[in-house]
Structures are given as C-alpha cells and as structure tokens.
Amino acid sequence: MVMEPILEVRDLHTSFLTSNGEVQAVRGVSFDVEKGKTLGIVGESGSGKSVTSLSILQLLGVTGKVTAGSIRLGGEELTTKSRKEMRAIRGERIAMIFQDPMTSLNPLIPLGDQVGEMLWEHHRKMSKEERREKVLELFRMVRIPEPEKRMKSYPHEFSGGMRQRVMIAMALACRPDLLIADEPTTALDVSIQDQILKLMRSLQKEMGMSIMFITHDLGVVAELCDRVAVMYGGLIMEEADIIDIFQRPMHPYTLGLMASIPDMNQDKGKLLQPIPGSPPDMIHPPKGCPFAPRCPYAMRICTEEMPPCVATGETRRSMCWLLDPEAPAEGNPLKQRKEGIA
C-alpha cells in the first residue's frame, strides 16, 4: 500500500541572522508526514527540530528565513505563499501546540474566547451562539471538567495539564490536516504527560489527522509515533519506521540516544551513558558530519567530508560514513549489527 503524504519537505534550509553572523539552524532537511500517521522528530536542544516546524508555518520572526527548499502541503507549495495565504493555512490546515502551556496562553483573555478566536478567524460566518456551542464541544472533547464554567476561566486558574488540553482544543478547533506538536509534554509532570499523549492518540484516531511530534524523549516517540527522524546539527541523521529504529539503530547518534535512556530492567550498577560533548556551533557548522567530534567511532573522513545519505533498508535511510562500502568492518557498530542479523 502506497501512502499519500500530507506534508512533503525537501531540502529545507533555514537561517537566522544575528549580530554574530548567520546561524544555519536547518541545513537541508527532507521528510514526509503521511496521512493519519505520526512522525516523530527527535534531537537534543539546538538540533533544529523546532526551527523545522516553525519554518513550515512561517513563524520564524523577523530574523529567521527559509533560504532554500520546498514545503508542500497536500501538493501545494507553502514557501512561495504570501503572508495572507499563509494565515489562511495556519490554524485551519496546520495547527501547532507548544512546549510550555504556562506561557503559551494569553493571561488576560478567558480560555473559551482564546479557543473561540480560532473559529472566529477561519469560520467568519459562524454565529456567536454556534461558536460558543462549538467551544463547549471542544472543551468536552479534550475532557476538561465543567466546560461551561471553565470556558470563562483565565489561564492562571488552570493547571499545566489543563492548559495543554486547552491548547489542544484550540489547535483542533478547525480540524486541521496536520498537527505540529512541539514538545507538548516536556513541561508537564510524568503522569500528566501520559494523559496528554493518550488524549492526542485518541483524538488522532477520531479525526484522522497527521501529527508531527517534536521531542527529545525517545520514550514518548515509542509510545506515539509511526516513524522517526533523528535530527542533529540541522540535519536528519537517520529516518526509519519506529520498530526498525528501536530494533536496529543505524547511526552512532541514535545509538547514543538509546544508551542514554534509563531502562527499568537494567542492572543498577550499570551507569547511564551520556553522549559527551556539546552540539556544534551553527554559525560555523563543521564541513563534515556534525556529530563527528562527539562520535566514538569517528574516522578521519568524518570531519572532512559530509557523509552521503544512504538507504539502509526499504523504508529507512541514514547519514554516516560507517555505512560506506569502504568503511572498515572491524569495530564498526553498524556493519557488525547488519551482518549479525542478516
């Protein structure tokens, strides 16, 4: 079965102009989000994952700019759209929820009105009464207790989890084709995180929308996503189906990420393995693989030349010199694994 992608991103480049120079936050990223599916974008802070999502909606602010590439929504090119055309897409066809529900809602406007504004913008013909009914329905949909009363509440009267529910209600008000969720559970307690993820999953089933889920938490990815793209230094290092990536990571960075997740069954004496070092300076990005300085398997070529992106299976690809036919097999985690399993 061939899946039809709702969102196709090709060779996306995004930069920010700062007083120190051009920060090349995203340096040629390509991926698809398929209809009704969830793509997880994983990476540490500064890997370019949030910038990728803001580029899609053109919410980069005055200093940010998409410098090259193409973003197509249902076959329609977004990068050439005017501001006004883009506004019709935001909220209506692509909606977004953000990391911090404590600061993402306007403190001076009742929550019902903030959700209602989404409907007001995209469905001007809707009467005030209809809109109220619809907001009420949305509040019920995201399981906010006493919605009639809660509609009139202000953000400070809600807990973090409840506010994130309001954000979800707002995002889903116009039944968008694509929901971009930028670390929506990072600022929440673990128990609340789980509730929000379950809610998102059930709403996705109900409405059939696609989700682009940005996170640094591989555990969350395992729970929610169909496919994963691992980002580092403004590039997608590896992209694969969820099962494949957990069974057989094909990039040293993915390996590193997996080794740094705590495991319930693991020997208590065994320490978690953090990835040493810090992400590259994106004003002067390295000409080779951005992960090379932190990679335990780095070879000479890694710092000198950008690795090619190679298919490592029918539905997966990875960007690493270790996968090159000429790379030594000895001490090579990717080749050993490949041969071990094959």
């Binding site: 919410l59 019709a88 909220g91 993402s104 809602l105 202000y154 707002m170």
Partner: protein, 305 residues
C-alpha cells in the same frame, strides 16, 4: 472586596497621618519661625503674635490642634497673609494647576503611548531611532530649559504663542509641552520596552499560529498586556501633573498652587506648608489607589480580598 477597601483606606489614613507628623516635626526642627524677619520687632509684638497663633503652646498641643482642624478639612489660617486661609490658597490655585495638568495629561497619554507603540513595532528602524532620540532629549533636559527654548522660538522668534499667561487657549501650548516633556519621554520608553517584551512572549506566537492578522495580534493580544506596567506609573504621574509644577507655573506666570507652596516654604508659613504637603500627599495616595483599582479591570490575575 469590601475588606480590601476598608483595609486600604485605613492604610491611606495612617500614611497621611505619618506624612503630616513628619512634615510638622521637620518644619519645627528648623530654627526660626514665621515671624522671624530682618526688621527688628519689639519683644511685646513678637509675644503677642506667637500668642495669637498659639506658637507658645507645647509642640504636641500645636500638632493636635492642627490635626483637629485637618479632620474637618480646615487647613487653618495663613500666618503670613492676613485674612487668608490655606483653603483659600488651594481653591484659588488648584483650578489653574488642575486645568493645566489635565490638558498636559491628555497630551502625555496621546503622545507617549502611540510613540512607544510605533517605536516597538519599528524596532531598529528610523521611526524607532527618532522616537528614542526625542525621548532621550525629553528625559535629560530639564523642563525650564525646554520652556525657555520653546518661548524663544515660538513666542519670541515666530510669535505664534503668547509669552506668558493662559488667558487665550494658545497660552496653554508651551506650558503643556514643557511640563509634559518628561512624562511623554518616560512613558514612551516604558511603553516601547514593555511592548517589545510582550511581542516576544509565547502567547503571541500562539496567537500568530492561529492565523489571525498581525493587527489583531497587536491590538487584541499584545497591547493590553503591554499597558500594565504603564498603568503602574500612571498614578504618580497623574498626581504630579494635576498638582502643577512650580517651575512651569512661574515661567509662564500661571497662578497655580506651585507658587503658594514655594512661597510658604521660604516664608516659613507653617500652616501653608502643612496644608500644601498634606493636600499633595492625599492626592498622590488617592491616585495610586485608583490605579490599583484599575488593575483589577485589566488584569484578571489580580484579585483584592
């Protein structure tokens, strides 16, 4: 709410009492008195004067007598001007000061808030630079220098406005600009930084992600939030402007309250010093109180109970 009001008004009265007490003590701590002068007055006359105005009473008794008058809004007779009371001074001076102040206040609000908004929205562009340059001039140059400059150009060189007096409406133009200059600059700066701060907030990004127009983002989501710090400083600013500026009133020969206040201090006119200070303090406290009530309306996070 009722509990808040009772508590708050109680605190206002205590504050006012302390201000009155402090002024009274300081005033009497300075050597000399209202009847000390260059001309030698005979001891008998001096004693009679002191007796008449009860200056021979112990200080605590004088203070109690004063407070007794104050609670009946009687600020007492002037020690210097026969037959005049401090209430007369205030009722003569206040209308002039308040009218000038009210016009200045309107000017300040109409100028500073749009200036701050334009400056923030055109951050780093020439509009911003121009507004900020003007604001720096307004904050740094004293009002009497601005007033003198304005008179030189507009009254003396161009002849567009009267040099002094407020008999004609044109007479208000220069004093309003000179008096409001500082507040305009200060509030424009505050408005600018506050709006810039708000525009960088997450909820503005949320609003933009909804697809609403930038105009609506600013009007509906940013401005109300950005006005909160401006309203905070508005209380003292309003009190300041409405009670007048001695310097400006002097330069433009406007018979407001400021003249009476300064004269009373140089002449050691005890009751007038007390009366003016207490009146000004009461006005300031009331304005701050009103601003606090306004907060409630604009910011739902603030609840008084």
């Amino acid at each position: 709410m009722t509990r808040f009001l009772v508590k708050r008004i109680g605190m206002m009265i205590v504050t006012l009492f302390l201000i009155a007490l402090l002024t009274f003590v300081l005033m009497h701590a300075v050597p000399g008195g209202p009847f000390t002068s260059d001309k030698q007055v005979s001891k008998a006359v001096m004693d009679a004067l002191n007796e008449k105005y009860k200056l021979n009473d112990p200080l605590w008794k004088q203070f109690l007598d004063y407070m007794r008058g104050l609670v009946r809004f009687d600020l007492g007779p002037s020690f210097k001007y026969q037959g005049k009371t401090v209430n007369d001074f205030i009722s003569n001076g206040l209308p002039y000061s308040a009218k000038l102040g009210a016009i200045t206040l309107v000017f300040v609000l109409c100028a500073s808030i749009p200036m701050g908004i334009i400056s923030a929205l055109r951050n780093g562009k020439w509009q911003d630079m121009l507004v900020m340059a003007l604001a720096t001039v307004g904050v740094t140059i004293p009002s009497f220098v601005i007033a003198t400059g304005l008179i030189y150009f507009f009254s003396f060189k161009l002849g567009w406005t009267p040099v002094y007096g407020v008999d004609k409406w044109q007479g208000y133009i220069l004093p309003v600009i000179a008096m409001g200059g500082y507040s305009v600059s200060f509030l424009a700066r505050l408005m600018r930084s506050s709006l810039l701060d708000v525009m960088g907030q997450d909820y503005i990004r949320t609003a933009r992600a909804k697809g609403i127009s930038e105009t609506r983002v600013i009007l509906k989501h940013a401005l109300r939030n950005a006005l909160i710090p401006v309203i905070t400083v508005l209380g003292p600013t309003v009190a300041n402007l409405l009670t007048g500026s001695f310097v400006i009133e002097k330069i433009f020969a406007i018979p407001g309250m400021g003249g009476y206040f300064v004269n009373s201090v140089t002449q050691r006119d005890y009751t007038t010093i007390m009366g003016m200070t207490v009146f000004y303090a009461a006005f300031l406290i009331a304005m701050v109180f009103i601003v606090d009530l306004f907060y409630c309306l604009i910011d739902p996070r603030i609840k008084y109970d």
